[in-house]
């Protein structure tokens, strides 16, 4: 089903053949970059909600700094959560790569073998990496267990806390109010929500590093793929 095209790419000293596969459809790419922007916004504003900036001078009526910071946080939170819902929808209607984030094939033996291979590649124990059209098993596992679970966790705890402000009977309270007693009390949810931020920031660091590293060292394109949607392969060798 993947559109394929071959193009000859003139390298520095040798002619390298590249095969391209269309992997990430437009909605997936758009979602990726919107979510990235949301995470940056949410982390900065969220950090400042817990540890606010130095006191503003002047009258209270002339300032609304915390209000703006909180507004930005809530807006970005809405965008992130709705984007996540849209992304889940796209997993159903998009191409089969769109499902990789949500369905990890842990029942397949081959997947486990490749996972170990990928681990060995990162530990410098393998000389050559494998080729992947979609995610490699390690990347897929990290995407699911850190990003997907993390984003859902942050959305649920986030809207539970948001519901405290919008008040009893509001949609956020009706849908997510049960989360607060589940964790103990409001302050516990705040603590977990903040730990969740650090968890996702840890993911972002590793994600960005490995995307750049793989773009350079693996046998396929990564960063340009998330921009244009096409996966380029740097060699013609099988696997």
């Amino acid at each position: 089903m993947a559109l394929e095209k071959s193009l000859a790419d003139a390298g520095h000293d040798q002619v390298r053949k590249q095969t391209a596969v269309y992997v990430y459809e437009a909605p997936v790419r758009l979602w990726h970059w919107v979510t990235a922007l949301c995470i940056v916004t949410l982390s900065i504003t969220g950090y400042l909600i817990g540890v606010p900036l130095p006191t503003m001078p002047g009258e209270a009526s002339d300032n609304y700094l915390m209000g703006y910071i909180r507004f930005a946080h809530f807006s970005a939170g809405y965008v992130l959560a709705l984007g996540l819902l849209g992304r889940i929808y796209w997993a159903f209607v998009g191409n089969h790569h769109a499902r990789e984030l949500f369905l990890v094939p842990i029942h397949k033996k081959a997947w486990w073998h490749e996972l170990i291979h990928e681990l060995r590649w990162y530990l410098f124990l393998e000389k050559t990496p494998k080729k992947y059209i979609g995610h490699n098993p390690l990347g897929q596992l990290a995407m699911f267990s850190v990003f997907v679970i993390g984003a859902i966790f942050m959305s649920v705890t986030g809207f539970a806390l948001y519901g405290e402000g919008t008040g009893q009977g509001s949609w956020a309270d009706r849908l997510f109010g049960w989360v607060i007693p589940l964790f103990g009390q409001s302050l516990d949810v705040h603590s977990w929500h903040r730990l969740g931020m650090w968890y996702i920031l840890m993911f972002v660091m590793i994600h960005v590093y490995l995307a750049i590293r793989e773009d350079i060292m693996s046998r396929q394109s990564l960063i340009s793929t998330m921009v244009g949607g096409w996966r380029m392969f740097k060699d013609d060798k099988p696997d």
Binding site: M66, G167, S186, W198, L201, I206, R213
Partner: protein, 358 residues
Amino acid sequence: MSQIETFYEVMRRQGITRRSFLKFCSLTAAALGLGPAFVPRIANAMETKPRTPVLWIHGLECTCCSESFIRSAHPLVKDVVLSMISLDYDDTLMAAAGHQAEASLEQTMQKYKGEYILAVEGNPPLNEDGMFCIVGGKPFLDQLKHAAKDAKAVIAWGSCASWGCVQAARPNPTQAVPIHKVITDKPIIKVPGCPPIAEVMTGVITYMLTFGKLPELDRQGRPKMFYGQRIHDKCYRRPHFDAGQFVEHWDDEGARKGYCLYKAGCKGPTSYNACSTVRWNGGVSFPIQSGHGCIGCSEDGFWDKGSFYSRLSNIPQFGIEKNADDIGLAVTGGVGAAIAAHAAVSAIKRMQDKGEQA
């Protein structure tokens, strides 16, 4: 005493005029968040309903709930509520003592089986078969179970009965537990706070007696009318929070100007209570108004949530005095160092491979 008097009869007997009585009804309606249409309903209920017997028992506690209750500054409540309800047993307030007191408990339980309200101040320790709290020669745990058996409803006074409070704080050597861990088959109204506000206590009782039903409770069993909002939602210093104006130090300009105490660890944004609306001591003040942050005394496990002076609470699994940011910075710092090391090794490997190829 063959017939129990109504509230109204008791009030009149105590020399309270009908005018004062109706004023009390209006004030009560307002305090409960009800409209003027409810005033005649309250008046009617108090004129016609017999007083409901209340048994007030004390477990592990400091009696601050009782101290608060008897200081209810609502003018008539102070004089009347103690006579209004038929407080048949309260070992710290009643005149009787010893066997006489315990006998009155039994008497009420038999006479008003399934009709009386059990008010519990404090909580039972479970360790050593409840030997850490003895009332009338028996463990309080037994008294609590015994008295709750035939009660119509149970009121959990204060944070002890509702959540466990200080005696249930880590490491909780006596295994003190909130009463809902022991009483599982009765409706429990939690009125948390250390202590709860006097007017909230009398308000809850008045509501139950006048309407003959429990007030509407939230998910955690607290009356919505008093615990429906956070201190922060109605705090008079809220505009300074939204403006980003905080008390940074106790003696700074912001403290003198009455800025928001958020950075000084105020737990108002996470505490459900009526302090910022009802206030204390007859509406004189409340902690934030007096210049100190809320410590969140009406919230579950507030003793174990880290410093009263920090917004980020301690996470004990990671050692003493570690909060989410300490943990997060350590983890992301470690990850950052690992990435740097990995990138360095990758670069060296790549140069080696290039060298081999060439």
